[in-house]
């Protein structure tokens, strides 16, 4: 079976790969949006935190024989803890300053973290095997569905939707949204805003690490794996606008799919297509697809 000269299984497998990439875009841009909402900091270190998730999973397996499923839980907790330290000891000092200092501080931080790991592991990829439970593929009749990739999409979408639910539908989320609008007023109501800020950053960091663990068996694990990803995620954030959680999720997934399709029909443009879309969105809707112009 063929569509526009491309075989159906080939098309479907690229689509799925696009969805996998899109899942990472969604989780990462979601974290960026939540952090930016409360801290007013664009977290350049998000790519490095993503990398930490993947590399720590690899390290746990290679040095201690700790398996994937344990790390899926432990890695986000560890990186979340690192997030607490980063927020408490570094970011806290710059909230009253111009936005750009937050970007520069987290950029420095990511260069530092990535440089440290690079000095130990170099730049070549570290292989990580797919967990046994998810090896192989399921025959759907029209295509072979690799189990692990299906799991990545499923797990990511679940986590994204859970985050959306917590922020939009629960009391905790209401505090968070109120804190985004007016932190001083929320503090006056007796909510401990500084702790909320710390936990928000830790949560965003944990999300990035979770994506990193999911990515370990699909991508090559390298100290620089988050570097190019974070720039694409910035473009995703510009396209979606940071005002809406659901917007971030949909934009991330959608762009992943478009990127996958580009790989099939015009592979040369697959690395630039997200940026081209960003340009088009800027021309038509400068505030972003889901953004509100302030």
């Amino acid at each position: 079976m063929e569509i526009l000269g491309v075989s159906l299984p080939g098309l479907m497998s690229q689509l799925l790969l696009g969805l996998v990439n899109g899942s990472f875009y969604a989780i990462l841009s979601l974290g960026l949006a939540v952090i930016f909402g409360l801290l007013n900091v664009i977290n350049f270190a998000h790519g490095a935190l993503f990398m930490l998730g993947a590399v720590s999973t690899w390290m746990a397996m290679n040095y201690f024989g700790i398996n994937y499923w344990v790390m899926l839980l432990v890695s986000p907790l560890l990186v979340g803890l690192l997030g607490v330290l980063i927020e408490r000891f570094l970011l806290r000092w710059i909230y009253r300053l111009d936005h750009l200092y937050g970007l520069l501080l987290t950029l420095g931080l990511s260069l530092l973290i990535e440089g440290l790991f690079r000095s130990v592991y170099g730049v070549s990829g570290l292989g990580y095997d797919t967990p046994e439970l998810l090896e192989g593929a399921t025959d759907l009749g029209f295509m072979m569905l690799p189990n692990y990739r299906a799991w990545v999409v499923l797990a990511s979408v679940t986590v994204c939707l859970a985050t959306w639910f917590v922020i939009e539908k629960t009391r905790l989320g209401a505090y968070l949204r109120a804190g985004t609008e007016n932190p001083r007023l929320v503090e006056a109501f007796g909510v401990n805003v500084p702790v909320m800020i710390t936990l928000t950053y830790a949560f965003g960091a944990g999300l990035a690490a979770f994506a990193g663990v999911l990515a370990a068996p699909v991508y090559q694990v390298t100290p620089l794996m988050g570097q190019n990803l974070i720039i694409v995620v910035f473009a995703v954030v510009v396209i979606g606008g940071m005002g809406s959680i659901m917007g971030a999720i949909l934009t991330g997934l959608g762009l992943g799919v478009i990127e996958g399709l580009t790989k099939v029909f015009y592979p040369q443009a697959s690395s630039t297509v997200v940026f081209v879309i960003m340009v088009i969105v800027l021309l038509i809707r400068p505030a972003g697809l889901f953004g509100k112009e302030k």
């Binding site: 931080l109 530092l112 440089g115």
Partner: protein
């Protein structure tokens, strides 16, 4: 002593030092590279320090101009002055495009858009056949300036670079002190107020962006002529991060800051390997020996320290100290 006089003496001494440097044992190619970076940082500072716009895409202007100059001189046999003119114009045009798109959004979005656009340019540079891909353009001849002055000699090249960089720096000084520069400052301090005073701030910002991109292009072109090659690393986003660091370290919004900052950053990066070897020897800790290959650790650390504790930068601190003494 009067601060202005002090500054004039400082610049005079620096110029004198640069003129005699090749005879005092400095390696001309290294100093030329330093001057190119200083020009790059000064052009960047015009935008960040004087207009308040943080562009994270300046590597694109540097890289594109370097490629245009390299390609036109190597394959079309353009003379160096035309090659550099082409590179500078290329930087300016790309700046016009970037600026036109990015100015639609404010603040942090502006930085993210410039970064994303520059990444796109990077991928284009990686893929198009004219740039030599991963290898870059090698073996660009220096040629003869105006068909008369042979630049193959390092010393001749050195004084040409010095003249161009000084001229470009004077242009920046003139711009900052012109009425146009004052409007830029007003935009930086309080954009809504500048708008209410009747200034079309979007146009001023765009003009500043194009000027900064053009001068960055000039720096890139000059670098290609001096070194004889243009590589992908010029267009990589880390180069944009680099120029931010140089400017921040020297002092945002000071004229001399970028010169000092670029010199300090380049020197640190050149000496870091030796420092690592030294630390490795005295502490017996193997890891320090690899420090030379992982410059980013040090760059990242400087970034963090500068943002947290040293935001005024070297020249900013000196200026503040002088002001305190006077008061």
């Amino acid at each position: 002593m009067n601060t202005k006089l002090l500054a004039k003496m400082g610049y005079g001494l620096l110029l004198l030092a640069l003129i005699v440097a090749p005879f005092a044992g400095a390696y001309p190619v290294f100093v030329m590279k330093l001057m190119c970076f200083a020009l790059f940082a000064a052009a960047f500072n015009l935008l960040l320090g004087y207009t308040g716009l943080l562009s994270f895409g300046h590597a694109a202007f540097l890289g594109t101009a370097a490629y245009i100059t390299g390609y036109s001189m190597k394959f079309w046999g353009l003379s160096p002055e035309l090659g550099m003119l082409a590179g500078t114009l290329g930087g300016a045009l790309l700046g016009l495009l970037f600026g036109w798109l990015a100015i639609r959004r404010q603040g942090i979005y502006f930085s993210m858009i410039t970064l994303a656009l520059a990444q796109m340019v990077f991928f284009v540079c990686l893929q198009v056949p004219y740039t030599g891909g991963e290898d870059g353009l090698q073996g660009v001849p220096r040629g003869k300036l105006f068909g008369l002055i042979d630049l193959a000699d390092d010393l001749t090249m050195y004084y040409v670079v010095l003249a161009i960089v000084v001229a470009a720096f004077l242009l920046i000084v003139r711009t900052v002190h012109s009425p146009f520069g004052q409007v830029l400052k007003a935009i930086k301090e309080n954009e809504p107020r500048a708008i209410s005073l009747g200034y079309d701030t979007t146009r001023f910002k765009l003009l500043a962006f194009v000027l900064s991109a053009a001068l960055t292009g000039l720096a890139g072109s000059l670098k290609t002529v001096v070194l004889g090659f243009a590589t992908l690393s010029d267009a990589h986003w880390t180069t944009s991060g680099h120029v931010v660091l140089m400017t921040l370290m020297g002092g945002l919004g000071t004229l001399s800051g970028p010169i000092v900052g670029s010199a300090v950053v380049v020197l640190i990066e050149n000496k870091i390997g030796e420092l690592g070897t030294f630390l490795g020897r005295i502490t017996g800790f193997e890891w320090f020996n690899t420090l030379g290959e992982s410059v980013t650790i040090v760059t990242g650390l400087i970034f963090v320290v500068c943002v947290l504790a040293f935001r005024r930068g070297i020249m900013g601190e000196i200026n503040a100290w002088l002001a305190r003494r006077k008061a």
